[in-house]
């Protein structure tokens, strides 16, 4: 009993770290341009496919079996592909709509999401079905000797460590650096940020770059954990991540991580213990979202709307 509970908590935290990593992209973009970038899940997906393509077609075979070479290269390439696609998306799809009614970029985001999924399906070899992903990290499982033993895959440990480290690094960047200050200023009052000399385009591009890089790394870690990727992975995890961002308080970096962990735990524990099992885990996630928003509409860490003096 105890080991089942602990295993599900571990599963929840692993999935939650991944969701939190993706949620950071949703929350940052929303904080800066007030857009729910529904295509962000696909940025996560293309990172996984980009990394896999490099691994399959470009990486010399001699390097493929050495994870300490292959893994960093995969992570960097995955992040780079996601960043490129995210920046192109901002430039070509969202920037022309700056100043348009908010519904226009929102619908565009949905369109970009479908376009990216279809592009991968059509152009990536055999992408109509799930594609196997190399076990990049030392394959194997750590068994923690409690009760019947709690299994934790090494690739899951890697995912949690990298996700939390990146979230911490991002938070430090936003809180401490000059560009981070410019991002916060733009989120709080874009006009006054411009009066301080902040170029809004630079801040917006930076936001997409950071969110894209985190999503791309997430895509590779996801592939390493589940050993298979498919074109739906962005949609499914994107919905969870978007929900996590709202739950944590959209626009808030800590909120995205905490929201992600909360959703991971609800999914794992709800699937185990609540009636209906895993078939109902979406239901429990959205029940939690709705209940939290009824009592705290701004989410865990969100700022209440204040009237400006």
């Amino acid at each position: 009993m105890l080991s089942t509970l602990l295993s599900q908590i571990v599963n929840g935290l692993v999935l939650g770290s991944l969701i939190g990593l993706i949620a950071l992209g949703y929350t940052m973009v929303y904080g800066i341009v007030q857009l729910i970038n529904f295509a962000h899940g696909e940025i996560f997906m293309v990172g996984a496919y980009g990394g896999l393509a490099m691994f399959t077609y470009l990486l010399p075979t001699a390097l493929k079996n050495h994870w300490y070479f292959a893994l960093p290269i995969l992570l960097i390439v995955g992040a780079a592909v996601s960043v490129l696609v995210a920046v192109a998306m901002e430039r070509l799809a969202y920037r022309p709509l700056r100043g348009a009614p908010r519904l226009a970029p929102l619908i565009t985001a949905l369109g970009v999401s479908v376009a990216l999924q279809e592009a991968v399906r059509v152009f990536y070899p055999n992408a109509t079905a799930a594609v196997p992903f190399p076990t990049i990290f030392v394959p194997g499982t750590l068994i923690i000797p409690i009760g019947d033993g709690i299994p934790i895959k090494y690739s899951a440990i890697l995912l949690v460590v990298v996700a939390l480290a990146l979230a911490y690094a991002l938070n430090t960047f936003v809180e401490r650096s000059r560009m981070g200050r410019a991002m916060r200023a733009t989120a709080q009052d874009p006009d006054v940020a411009r009066l301080m000399g902040v170029d809004p385009d630079r801040v917006i591009v930076l936001t997409f770059v950071l969110g894209g890089a985190l999503a791309g790394v997430g895509g590779i870690l996801y592939g390493g954990l589940y050993n298979t990727i498919n074109i739906d992975m962005g949609f499914q995890n994107g919905i969870f991540a978007f929900t996590a961002a709202v739950l944590g308080g959209i626009g808030n970096i800590r909120g995205a991580v905490v929201g992600g962990l909360a959703i991971g735990l609800v999914k794992a524990l709800g699937g185990q213990y609540l009636p209906g099992g895993t078939a109902y885990d979406y239901v429990w996630i959205f029940v939690v979202l709705i209940v939290v928003l009824v009592f705290r509409p701004q989410g865990f860490f969100g700022e209440t709307e204040r009237v400006r003096a």
Binding site: R181, A182, R184, Q188, D191, V192, D199
Partner: protein, 240 residues
């Protein structure tokens, strides 16, 4: 040629023209005021000079260079700082962070630190509370910080929009004394005020804006003595 020249400025929000012919100039080292009633177009004029709004027509020339087609961050780089109406501090950031944002375009860390100290000398209360969040400050303290933040870019032209708004008479005096002090240090100041009496007393030159047009101009003293200004903006008490 004047340091700042604004000619026949027309600015519209959609179909509504907020400014329909504003012309004025600011000489280097002067304090110049734009006075007028609420909604006359003063704030819109400042927002257009600093690049937040694009004019429909007209010209804004700074030191011989037309700037009305430039984005706001470029205009700041040319030495124009704008402290907006309502102060608009970054409320969730500390005093120091607000000042650092004022110095966003600079990378001379030593200069930034010494300018920050200069502002703490000018307004000691800011220095005492440099790590406090700006949103917790009183109106007067917020106005000091807003002026300090604008000064951090080392502007040649400082534009202040309604710095006395919501302040006590004593605090208002302190703010205007600060403007005088900045002028003596060589900063050119463009002031927008509804508090016409204090603004005119301080100004080398002033313009009256009415319904989006500059209608009167003169030295501060001339306008203070002008019966039309007295009647419209200064109240009967001053006229007698």
């Amino acid at each position: 040629m004047s340091f700042l020249e604004v000619r026949d400025l027309v600015v519209a929000y959609g179909a509504i023209q907020a400014v329909r012919g504003v012309t004025f100039s600011v000489e280097e080292g002067q304090v110049v005021s734009l006075i007028g009633s609420n909604g006359a177009g003063k704030t819109t004029t400042l927002r257009t000079v600093s690049g937040l709004l694009r004019p429909v027509s007209g010209e804004i020339v700074l030191d011989g260079t037309p700037i009305h087609a430039l984005p706001a961050h470029k205009i700041l780089g040319m030495g124009v700082a704008h402290s907006p109406e309502g102060r608009r501090l970054f409320a969730r950031m500390t005093v120091e962070e607000n000042l650092r944002l004022g110095a966003y375009t600079r990378d001379d860390e030593d200069g930034i630190l010494s300018d920050m100290d200069r502002i703490f000398d000018m307004f000691p209360v800011l220095g005492e509370r440099r790590r406090n969040k700006a949103g917790l400050f009183s109106g007067g303290e917020q106005q000091m910080l807003a002026i300090g933040r604008a000064l951090m870019s080392r502007p040649k032209l400082l534009m202040l929009d309604e710095p006395s708004m919501g302040l006590s008479p004593i605090m208002t005096q302190k703010i205007f004394a600060t403007v005088k002090e900045l002028q003596s240090e060589g900063t050119t100041v463009l002031l927008v005020e509804q508090n016409a009496l204090s603004a005119l007393a301080l100004s080398d030159h002033a313009y009256v804006i009415d319904l989006g047009r500059t209608t009167l101009s003169g030295t501060g003293r001339e306008l203070l003595a002008d019966p039309r200004v007295q009647e419209a903006y200064l109240g009967e008490g001053v006229a007698s």
